[in-house]
């Protein structure tokens, strides 16, 4: 099929951006979206032009590196997939496809479609862990049985790949789904109990400092999340935060 691509280009972090139009031809419906961009880039390089920069790595939907706002949706029109798993069979011959980077104050643009998501790492550094040294001298793994329902919920929350689609798609650029997923995972497991209060307070404080917006429960994040992280995790973040705020000792 033949397509028209409208792609956001920006030369560097401080340059002004613009939308550019590129036609691509002979695109197979079996291609992934990024393979289609590979074809465009190969074409651009062959024409002596600079290819479009975009983030990607594993190309199997798990590393969370790929992004892209495609036709007004994070990771494009398909559900439960990242951009690298989006296939061209979701488009029709003659379509015009708009491709933009994630937009958020907390995600400054580096170049073209590449943004800086280190704000998410900094939230994790503020408390997204259990403080246990890696000595291996902990108790036996089966010493504390964990109800399957809790273990499964913790796992579902833990499948977050940190791609930032929730932020990109939220009209408020809120990172609550991302933070809620990590807070939930550790709040549901016995190993996370010791630091439960501090963790949520510290992570939320860092989240606010990074300039993410507030959650207004539109639910867009849950719909666009490639891993289907549930809004239940945001509710849990809210209750964890409320309780922790009431419980925390004065500093």
């Amino acid at each position: 099929m033949n397509l028209t691509l409208k792609i956001y280009r920006q030369d560097g972090p401080n340059s002004k951006g613009r939308m550019e139009t590129y036609p691509v031809t002979d695109i197979s419906e079996h291609m992934s979206f990024l393979e289609m961009l590979d074809v465009l880039n190969e074409q651009l390089v062959n024409d002596g032009k600079e290819p479009v920069a975009f983030d990607h790595d594993c190309r199997e939907g798990i590393c969370g590196m790929c992004s892209l706002y495609i036709n007004g949706e994070a990771h494009g029109p398909d559900r439960g997939v990242t951009t690298c798993q989006l296939h061209m069979r979701k488009f029709k011959d003659g379509d015009t496809i708009h491709i933009e980077p994630w937009r958020a104050a907390a995600f400054p643009i580096i170049k073209d479609l590449v943004v800086d998501r280190s704000a998410m790492d900094r939230i994790m550094n503020a408390g997204g862990f259990v403080s246990v040294n890696t000595s291996g001298n902990t108790q036996d793994a089966n010493a504390i049985p964990i109800p399957k329902v809790d273990a499964d919920k913790a796992f579902d929350a833990a499948t977050c790949i940190g791609c930032g689609a929730c932020v990109a798609t939220c009209k408020n650029s809120s990172a609550m789904l991302f933070v809620g997923a990590k807070v939930s995972q550790l709040a549901l497991l016995p190993q996370g109990q010791v630091e439960r209060t501090d963790r949520v307070l510290n992570m939320v404080a860092q989240m606010d400092e990074e300039g993410f917006g507030n959650c207004t429960n539109t639910g867009a994040c849950e719909v666009e999340c490639p891993k289907g992280i549930s809004l239940e995790n945001i509710a849990r973040l809210n209750s964890e935060f409320l309780i922790a705020s009431l419980k925390a000792e004065k500093k």
Binding site: D38, N125, T134
Partner: protein, 667 residues
Amino acid sequence: MSILDSKIPEGPIKEKWTNHKNNINVVNPANKRHIDVIVVGTGLAGGAAAASLAEMGYNVKAFCFQDSPRRAHSIAAQGGINAAKNYQNDGDSTYRLFYDTVKGGDYRAREANVYRLAEVSANIIDQCVAQGVPFARDYGGLLDNRSFGGVLVSRTFYAKGQTGQQLLLGAYSAMSRQIGKGKIEMLNRHEMLDLVLVDGKARGIIARNLITGEIERHSAHAVVLGTGGYGNVFFLSTNAMGSNVTAAWKAHKKGAYFANPCFTQIHPTCIPRSGDYQSKLTLMSESLRNDGRIWVPKKKEDVIAIREGRLRAVDLKEEDRDYYLERRYPAFGNLVPRDVASRAAKERCDAGFGVNETGEAVYLDFAAAIMRYGTEKATVDGIHNASETMIRELGEKVIEAKYGNLFQMYEKITDDDPYKTPMMIYPAVHYTMGGIWVDYNLMTTIPGCYAAGEANFSDHGANRLGASALMQGLADGYFVLPYTIGDYLANEIRTGKISTDLPEFIEAERAVKDRISTLLENKGSKTVDHFHKRLGKIMWDNVGMARNEEGLKKAIAEIKALREEFWKDVFVPGKANGLNPELEKAGRVADFIELGELMALDALSRSESCGGHFRDESRTDEGEALRDDENFAFVSAWEWTGDPSKAALHKEALEFNDIELKQRSYK
């Protein structure tokens, strides 16, 4: 030929690691804060090492080329992680895991290393659970296990089909804690472009800031490489697009020997290729072979009918199907090791029984498992005389709970519903057992330079068993390297801060900058991917699943020519000072081309078949791999001499004292 000192401790195998830990030098806690360690790569090995070293008190600088340490390719591992916990009470033990791993590796791994790996495996599970890794659990709340290829026990711990992700996020969280404390300085979007040696010791690296393009000098008292494998030399592999050999290759060119480069794992269950535009191949976890049965049609006419779309796989009668793994290997059936399963698939497809248009695919069928689980579930739920449809629905739910994300991934890529029709799979390059040569302490032949995880060669011999890569990465990173590195660093407490203004740093930086300008100013006519694809084709055709003398010689000549053409005719657009993905790729492909030549040379020199390395000239009457223990029971460690095809071979003899050398059999 020099003698490689593997520094294996004396004493019985069961006591080696304990004795070693008791006898090596240790750095006192107050001195650790005066010692800097660079860790390159943040996957399971690098991430775990960085976190552990920082916890111990060293100043760690960690590097990764991705935008966050959480994205390293360990994250894509699906099936599970082995540990000799014996939770299933099926007679598992440290010795059994050790034995399975050495045998699975076709007796080309170092006994002492493998035993240590098996020994610490149980601690990994304890550690990860303590970190909050949500492993799968049964209804009693205890950890669940599954089976993987090449073993007769259930020792694989898992988190659905995302075990690697959960373990990596565990290591990442341990790193996050240290980054938050300032003990790890994390340098994202940085690529190591050279290793700096001062007085023969590894003293730092030259790295490129991928955003600004700046070339930076970083010094340390030791450098740890946890940079993964080099499967992308084949262009198409299950590796991430960015996975590369550059860091390891630069270390090799600075004096680290490269061991067994030709030992490549071709994974039997990947989604077959669909076209020339394809950028990578996607793995379907080995865990699927727990429940999936592999088959092709018995009759050629059925194959043709299927290819032409006249016949559906589900409609083919049971007696017309050839479950060739169950037929050839009754004892292990669908759970034979990866190399055996891959070769068997290739054999059937070469014989003309491949079931897709390209003739390179076999079926992985879950119909039987769905019905079996459905019946079980109906019984548990107390549903008597359940209809077939109901049983199938119940069974599909059980399968979904076990492999849901894998099935979804398959459906998204192929547009086929694997619950209703069998998956199509074909072998693809997945893992490299070869890597930088290391001694028992994981130190390379360069003092102060260490290699951990897939980047080193040590534990898997000629074939890795499923769910052992995660085990090795974390074992090296959490439990081995943090101790053994102390033995070396204990002598560095008086060294003091290492200046990056030393002439060695200046010279290395100049060389890196020169190479970048050469690439950018070349103004050739072909793209980097053009060369990468051609390299991949040469490698797959001649250094792939089956190799022979003629093909390997041809490959060496072709790769040499390709290398010359690359430097003459490659075109790299853009500038050096800024984000330039084409430039990054160009540097990596240049290194892959050199490595490809060495792999072919290594494969040529090892004229036996073992594990993933199959030489057509060396096979049993039944077509199985035939080892030659008399002549090849050694590790090939190659020394860089300036030209990959003239690399110098050093041999480390492999001694087997605790396991009897036997022809591997899974029948």
